[in-house]
Symmetry: C2
Subunit: 516 residues, 2 copies
């Protein structure tokens, strides 16, 4: 496929008059072809107008029609695999297996949402039938279900060029919910974005969805993203990225005349707590697991464990020292992320009483894994020690006692995950710690590691701020669809005007709550 | 019961050192005993500290324990009925039947949430069991359910001194969800608040709930409310009141270092659309129904229909003229609300091309019902015509065509309800209008009136901003409990550490989604 560098304005392609930008090869820094062009302000307005115009039609497509649409997108992405992988490798530095694996996850997510909406029970259909003879007042027929919010703006993540980008989890769940989507492509992997957008645009046409169902804009800066979030016709936002970026979108959305929800997945240090018995019993094994979890994908997963609370242990520390010293430097997604990583690490090493356990120096082009340590009292006293450093590093916090761990846990901000390693004997006594961690995180893990996020019905990839903007949501798993919906009640409707999900005969055969 | 005018700081009563205020008799303006005292800033801090301390215990009470607690509150409120009603009548001007009826609704809500949590399926338990042999990676055991957010601040509504105040829907749903509650009493019915708070405090003690489970502060101004919403330990807010008040709380919550959700139910004009056939067939009957819906409770319901879109009809207009002219002036909740009503009505009458159809003059102490009219083109051109006037008035918008109605519908802000009156023949052609209204409102009604809000599982008392701050929520019905919860995943947990809702044997016998 010959890339054009032009935005997708519904079924048309944008002009190339607005700000140009280029994408660099992640590993060698060379400029990749072609030149990309920001959408113009008028073109952005047109994407939103098309999405708003598409909404009444798209939001009333049947679940079967949308399921077919999602599966068609998946097929077309798979068919483009041989084009996606080399471009994605060049733009992101991710290895081939990861690129192919992430494509598998992406099409898997699209198919999961297709299955979910075809099964149909997710709409939470509730039926209260009428009681005309009720005293003192008749009871009306009242039925409710979840309905789509309206056009959604999706911001692509730098760290998941497929699974949280153009056709990623936010887009898949919004389309499944029957919301038109306007994607703001990530400028670091714009070519990958263009290939995937081609697949979606083609599926829109083939499945005869309204034109405004999908658009994608390139943006050299942040202007178009801000314009999207503040546009009156945009009704929700999906974002995965930095805390500063997510908070800026949250603030812009909250300041609108009509505030809208922003579902931003932002920052998490994914603390791990190792209880003394587990440390004594398998300190080295835990160290090995930790090395793998921290260095996986050059530490560029949202669930990379950046903080570990533990007692002192030579086995554990040696395991870390060896593991981190032997880990290879790795290419990061782009030069900016590498720079942030090395700056963050320098800043952390400059904090009082922080020392290195094991470290591989970063190079001009690659991030070296690092593990550092500090004391629990320093951790609690110095907020700089709990800041996320995006990349392959972790900070070990040595705790003198269980009380240290409890105090450290209480001092944590909101997290995507929190993990406890303990022996069978210790677990029953871990209740107080787990209760604190439950207030801090969306997912609690025992005796494993936070990386490796299952995409299924029980996954909560969310958590209190600043892990996400809305701790009551998940961006991974079937629950992600709920973000782009709201319940609507229908009172006194004739059967013919009700959505199929609420009709008396239950033509879709979904699970419903029915009361008289 | 002798009222003290002192705040409830957990199980203690506040000092009387801070700002005093008094409550006026709604009908005659006389000062009622006693003098009430704002909680001090230190006392407010103490309520939050107690709530935070209570959370780990209260959030781990069993559903059965909390159901018993909610039912005990209901019993104690019923037992105080003979004290509540006269005080409530004096403070609010509401007639005896309404006071008793609203008490019935309030205890009914408490018992509904008790039943809901005892039944237990609302937690949305999802179980994905492990597949240790899955390739390429083992599948972990992952289970999720809804868990409480933390301490919740509840602001009492002026228009529901019981059902949306101290022990109202926000408090009942938050306590059911296992969140401690701090109530900010409404200063216009502080005596009613004190009686109800006594019932809750007594239930906390009798059911051995932790002290911080419930507190209630009096506040002469808005300082304590703001302090509550911005306190780091408060994790959510429930509010029913004005758009200005709700928006101020939304903005304060969004500007926190850790933003929190605000569930504010604020303002709605509850538009009614009368299609030509229905107007011709039963214009007078619809007019009579409208008079009843608008004047019910002196127009002080959130669902009072303030806008009616219809063609011209002598029958309909005469019906309105007669109905509104014969309606009696009524005492409003307090002098401030009456003043806002008369000012709002004067301002509306001062708009170009707005004329009166029928009107009863307001008196010094009572609101006179009024019905006015304007054209669809003036309505669309002048945003002042769509502003809520809280009280017994409605504005008829004469539409020349179905297109006028569609354009008017498109111009509406978010609403709690939207209603269509149509004949059986007209309904199949009302799809375009209903699709627009579905984007605007939380509840759609056919051939009835929006007042009379069922409290059950299918009710959505919510809607896009400015009807509420969060259109994905409802403040009435069983769905209200979801506001104060978030999903949490448990990965690799031994059965003994899982919440009962997620244990292998399903000891609570709830509905769950289980996948392997």
């Amino acid at each position: 496929m010959t890339l054009t560098g032009k935005s997708f304005i519904g079924s048309s392609r944008a002009s190339d008059n607005a700000t140009p930008f280029t994408v660099s090869h992640a590993a060698n820094g060379e400029t990749l072809e072609p030149t990309f062009h920001s959408a113009s302000s008028d073109e952005l307005q047109k994407t939103v107008a098309l999405a708003a115009a598409a909404f009444p039609t798209f939001s009333n497509t049947s679940p079967a029609e949308r399921a077919n649409f999602l599966r068609t997108i998946a097929e077309k992405i798979d068919a483009l695999g041989s084009e996606i992988t080399p471009r994605m490798m060049a733009e992101t530095g991710l290895p081939e297996a990861r690129c192919n694996g992430e494509r598998g996850r992406t099409v898997g997510q699209l198919r999961m949402f297709a299955d979910l909406i075809e099964e149909g029970s997710w709409v939470d259909a509730r039926i209260e039938t009428a009681q005309p003879d009720r005293e003192p007042l008749p009871k009306p027929d009242l039925r409710s279900m979840r309905r789509p919010l309206g056009p959604v703006a999706v911001f692509c993540a730098s760290n998941f060029p497929l699974a949280f980008s153009v056709a990623g989890g936010d887009t898949a769940s919004a389309l499944a919910a029957a919301c038109p989507v306007i994607v703001r492509a990530h400028s670091a992997h714009a070519g990958t974005a263009e290939i995937v957008a081609t697949a979606i645009a083609s599926a829109v046409a083939e499945c005869k969805m309204p034109e405004g169902t999908f658009s994608m804009v390139f943006d050299a800066g942040i202007e178009l993203g801000t314009a999207l979030v503040t546009h009156p016709e945009i009704k929700a936002v999906g974002f995965t990225g930095s805390r500063a970026g997510g908070r800026a979108l949250m603030d812009a959305a909250a300041a609108r005349p009509e505030p809208i929800p922003v579902f931003a997945e932002m920052s998490s240090v994914n603390p791990i707590f190792i209880l003394p018995g587990a440390l004594a019993e398998r300190g080295e094994a835990i160290a090995n697991g930790l090395v793998g979890s921290v260095t996986m994908g050059a530490g560029q997963f949202c669930t990379c464990p950046g903080l570990v609370f533990t007692g002192a242990s030579t086995d554990f520390e040696n395991g870390l020292k060896n593991g981190f010293s032997e880990a290879a430097p790795a290419t990061m997604l782009h030069a900016g992320i590498l720079k942030n990583y090395t700056n963050g690490l320098s800043s952390l090493k400059g904090q009082a009483n922080v020392s290195a356990i094991g470290e591989v120096p970063s190079t001009e082009s690659q991030a070296g894994p690092a593990v550092l340590k500090a004391s629990a009292s320093d951790f609690i006293a110095n907020p700089a020690l709990s800041e996320e450093i995006f990349g392959p590093s972790s900070l070990i916090i040595e705790c003198q006692s269980g009380q240290d761990m409890i105090a450290a846990a209480q001092s944590l901000e909101g997290q995507l995950t929190a993990t406890v390693h303990a022996t069978d004997e210790e677990l029953p006594k871990a209740g107080a710690l787990l209760r604190i961690l439950e207030q801090k995180a969306g997912r609690l893990i025992i005796n494993s590691f936070p990386t490796g996020v299952e995409v299924n019905s029980s996954m909560v990839h969310g958590g209190p701020y600043p892990a996400t903007s809305d701790g009551a949501s998940t961006s991974v798993g079937t629950g992600a669809i709920l973000r782009y919906t709201r319940p609507v009640s229908y009172q006194g409707f004739p059967d013919s005007l009700l959505p199929d999900e609420l009709k008396a005969a239950n033509p879709l055969g979904i699970n419903r709550s029915e009361k008289a």
